[in-house]
Symmetry: C2
Subunit: 254 residues, 2 copies
């Protein structure tokens, strides 16, 4: 590809921590919210299993309020455990089709929902949530849109983490030829992914990833393995008027 061809492509940036989001031109971009362990993996799973919609909220208090008002499922975690006052947690295995089909979830998480609201406040052109379980659906959408993209890692309380960086790298490796890339964080993410792609779980374990330790300490290796598996809940998760909804449902509404 020549430099001239490359310049005609939309841009692709990777933001490795919410604390860096202000450095990027959010308002001209599609922002991909990445919170692999476990918010965006669970969102993909619930929507793939037929949930009507997911309302992401900032606080446990707001989650309880909306849950009562709309008689929907309250779900969420703080520091990796079910938050007090909520009915369900943040594990994808809590949301099988038999449970979530046609239901609405109100969800609050430590990092992912916070970043989503930051992107919203900064007038992102569009917001989608993504993780390994819906990798391909997300990549197909980003290629089709021909818009600037920011891969936004939710991180852990602003600290950069391995798993969100790995997912950003996985997206980069799948879509890079369609974008103009002048972003060191994007290159770092892709290099990390290329090192880990043969066995993502083993890489997380070997590198003693902080979130691996945290969840494995609660006996949640099964969750980690699932959240690192590509395309097991392969729906596009789009934020629209306060809710996350699968693209299939949006099409049905049109």
């Amino acid at each position: 590809m020549t430099a001239t061809e490359n310049n005609s492509h939309p841009t692709l940036h990777t933001c490795l921590s919410p604390a860096l989001l202000n450095l990027y031109d959010v308002s001209s971009s599609i922002v991909v919210i990445i919170d692999v362990l476990r918010a965006t993996s669970t969102i993909a799973t619930a929507l793939a299993n037929g949930a009507k919609s997911i309302i992401p909220v900032d606080s446990v208090h707001e989650c309880i309020r909306i849950g009562k008002e709309m008689a929907c499922i309250t779900a969420g975690e703080r520091d990796g455990k079910i938050a007090e006052g909520l009915a369900y947690g943040n594990s994808p295995f809590e949301y099988p089709e038999t449970f979530v089909k046609d239901k609405t979830l109100v969800l609050t998480t430590t990092n992912g929902t916070k970043l989503l609201h930051m992107a919203l406040k900064n007038n992102a052109k569009a917001i989608v949530t993504a993780s390994f379980p819906n990798l391909s659906a997300t990549c197909d959408y980003l290629i089709q849109q021909k818009q600037n993209v920011i891969l936004g890692c939710a991180a852990w309380k602003d600290r950069i983490n391995i798993e969100d960086t790995l997912f950003a790298g996985a997206v980069v490796s799948k879509i890079k030829q369609h974008f103009s890339i002048n972003c060191d964080s994007t290159q770092i993410a892709e290099t990390l992914y290329n090192n880990a792609s043969a066995d993502l779980f083993e890489f997380m374990k070997q590198k003693n990833a902080s979130h691996y330790q945290r969840l494995a300490g609660y006996g949640l290796e099964k969750d980690i393995k699932y959240c690192l598996t590509a395309d097991v809940a392969n729906v596009l998760c789009v934020y629209k008027e306060g809710s996350l909804i699968s693209f299939a449902k949006i099409k049905a509404l049109l």
Copy 2:
């Protein structure tokens, strides 16, 4: 190494952008200021070539003021070029022994001096500056001190960059067995370095690193190659009472 042994070691963290420094416990740590292209490479070079001391300042205005007051060399850059009103720039090749021996430099740079002042304001236990030219001297010191360490990347206007991350990774790979590491950014930096170590310059070029492009655009490949070369100006650069000074000079003063 067992977990118990590991816990008795001091901690090692990597901070990939000044915008994330507030997440780390600066006041209990030695902070290593890393600005590979080119501030901390140039500092090592000038001190190795016999400069008496280097006074890092935040602004061009302050640089000019001190330069006049103390009759010393004013040096610095903004956006990779010599800043207006200053006599010299930020290239290590401007500071051979014949020029800098026994002289004092006042230096201001876009990113490195800013991070140094942040570490100072946050009461860092000690501050050293480092880059590939003084890699081994820095690593030897960090191992000897047996204190917590934060590898602080100066980045580019808060955006994470490849070269500072690579240097952090080089330090990690040399000293990790002496530290307890529970930091994803540290693992990311080391993985990046392991990928690049066979030819750092070629890696920067291949990955289209933003600072590679910026400096190569000014014809400064020679500077980039030098700044990525290990131990060519192998002195420990310590910040003490307003100045950077080589450790050899500190010992001579005692």
